[in-house]
Symmetry: none
Subunit: 212 residues, 4 copies
């Protein structure tokens, strides 16, 4: 009987996230990973082609969850600011909920090369484009100001979120939701969203709260 009920692959992945987040990918040996996962090295390599594959899986899981979140929100439709707020809130909340994976992804992703990495980059690009197009449309419709280009604004948003794992501490005073509102507020204001639209967001906030 296995040490734990969780599948070997799951345990390995969880251990890897913890260790990569704590020590960094390169500073963590496969030995350490399998020891923490209570698994033999051979078993790990039965499920994962390489150490890099762990990194791939970690990011893939995270980006998939986040893309799904965006897709769900975009499907609902609605005003630009309100939608953007919902996306940012979801992004911040899922990032905070998966702080380990987010830390690892932001820090080590550049190490991934080759074909599978291209797939990940495609997912990330889709996320970026979703946000960028949303902002661009809002600018065209006059929901946002046009001082900042949609492209730069998007990159700033992801800059903020990607860096978040470096300073956000889940045991601190601020809840993920509060932080998400703070960030979303800042971004919307920075984009020159008109006060009227901002006000409308209260509803969204409630809705999403109910979601979880």
């Amino acid at each position: 009987m296995a040490v734990s009920r969780a599948s070997v692959a799951r345990r390995v992945l969880d251990a890897a996230v913890e260790l990569f987040a704590e020590q960094g990918f390169d500073a963590t040996s496969v030995q350490e990973v399998v020891e923490r996962a209570q698994v033999t090295k051979g078993a790990m390599y039965h499920y994962f082609r390489s150490k890099d594959a762990l990194l791939y899986e970690i990011y893939h899981e995270l980006i998939t969850v986040q893309l799904d979140g965006m897709d769900r929100i975009l499907a609902v439709g609605g005003a630009g600011p309100r939608t953007l707020r919902a996306i940012i809130v979801d992004l911040v909340v899922t990032t905070a909920a998966q702080l380990g994976a987010a830390t690892v992804s932001a820090r080590e992703l550049h190490k991934l090369a080759g074909e599978p990495a291209a797939a990940l980059r495609a997912q990330r690009r889709r996320y970026h484009e979703g946000v960028r197009d949303l902002i661009a449309r809002g600018q065209r419709d006059g929901e946002f100001g046009s001082t900042v280009s949609a492209q730069t604004a998007t990159l700033m948003v992801f800059g903020i979120v990607n860096q978040l794992p470096q300073w956000y501490r889940p045991d601190g005073a601020t809840s993920p939701r509060e932080l998400a509102d703070e960030i979303a507020g800042f971004v919307l204001t920075g984009l020159g969203a008109r006060a009227a639209e901002e006000a409308g967001d209260n509803d969204t906030r409630q809705e999403r709260h109910a979601d979880r």
Copy 2:
């Protein structure tokens, strides 16, 4: 006679920045560094205690330049928004000018541990506190709105800037200065700086231009 007039240490550091930025710190061997620097391994170890010391120096040089910039700007004094804009512009411009060092610093700094790293962290903390206090003071004086906490705003600013090396390309259409203005504008708007104060920034822009 040495291969180049530049000091051994300088050449090593420059080579290290390039390689660490291209391939990552761990993926770069000391051998590669000394080869690119046209220096022998022994010579390198004569000037640097360890491979980590290279990382230390790289970040130290960067943060020192940037701290100096902030200190100079703060010394001038003036209104909060105007000062903050100047700081952000300087930060973005120096980051763009030292893209390699900035890339390495943002990506690999977490690897540094021990006493020397503490000194670096102290410098970084001082930078953060400078910005945070500036924002907090501005909020107290009504120059900025108070929807976002000064602390969160500061972390967002540095999030944006630290992530910048991952997407800014010096050969692109946007000049560092334009980008700096775009970012600064976004942040100031996000902080709810009143239009009047924003207008005043034109002068700052000129001043700094003359600086260089």
Copy 3:
């Protein structure tokens, strides 16, 4: 229903011959063998004790066919040169027909140790002794010259044949039969067989041709 009608053991062996010949025994993993054979690892180990056992079987099959050939020819009897020619022709023709197995046997056999390998070596020794004794008898009877010792001559014959898989290409201009005649002619001449005896071989040639 199995993927193919051929028995599991047969398919495994055929796959092993191909792969061992292409890549070498050590460079081929059991995984590759079972994949090419369309068989699971467990099934393979059901039929073969070990990876070495594959090597054993491959050589065993080959040497058995070749020993049978020699035995059949020796049973017919007749003059030394004529008999030797028939043996060499048969050896070359079967080697060319089983080029993969011959390649593997010549190259990797030294890896086999232990009791089963001893059995193989005994078969090989019997083959060598058959040829050697035939030559020695021919020398005693004046059918061959005596410049070369029967032992050395035998080893040269097998040297030639064992090396053959390294250069003979079945898709080349020379047919196995032509090559066999060329080699046999060289060896017989080298042994100083008198022309009269050589001439008599035409009959043998015909006989064997009909065989196949």
Copy 4:
């Protein structure tokens, strides 16, 4: 101070030859090599890029010596049979003198791939072509018969010599020189060299004897 006066590279190479000849290339670990050479693994990798590089060096040393031998003999010129005999004798004698290297080369060379291996193959090809052309010229001049093609004859000669390490034992009754004469005699006779020319070889035999 090193364990022995001989250079690290030399000791490693000698150990590798011994072990590869005894156990085979794949069955020998780098660990075993460095242990027998009384050298650390790091030191070995300081001199040799890889385990394969050892194989390369071993064959390179051998083929170089043998090519030099052929070149020297060809430079002297003289009748075909006499020259061919000298080449075969030299080949057999150097093979017997470097039995380990010859064993390894004949058995494991096929493992070498890539650019450096191509260089080795070119050397080997040059050796083959030297012999083949010599035979072909002799056939044209009527020094040899034409029953066997020069190409096949050449391949048989090298087949004999390459297989030699598998059965020649230096502590046996036959000296390398005797063996060489036996083999050369067999080959020349097989090629139909006229007795008159063969007789002339006695001189060559003496000369070469004095050489060493």
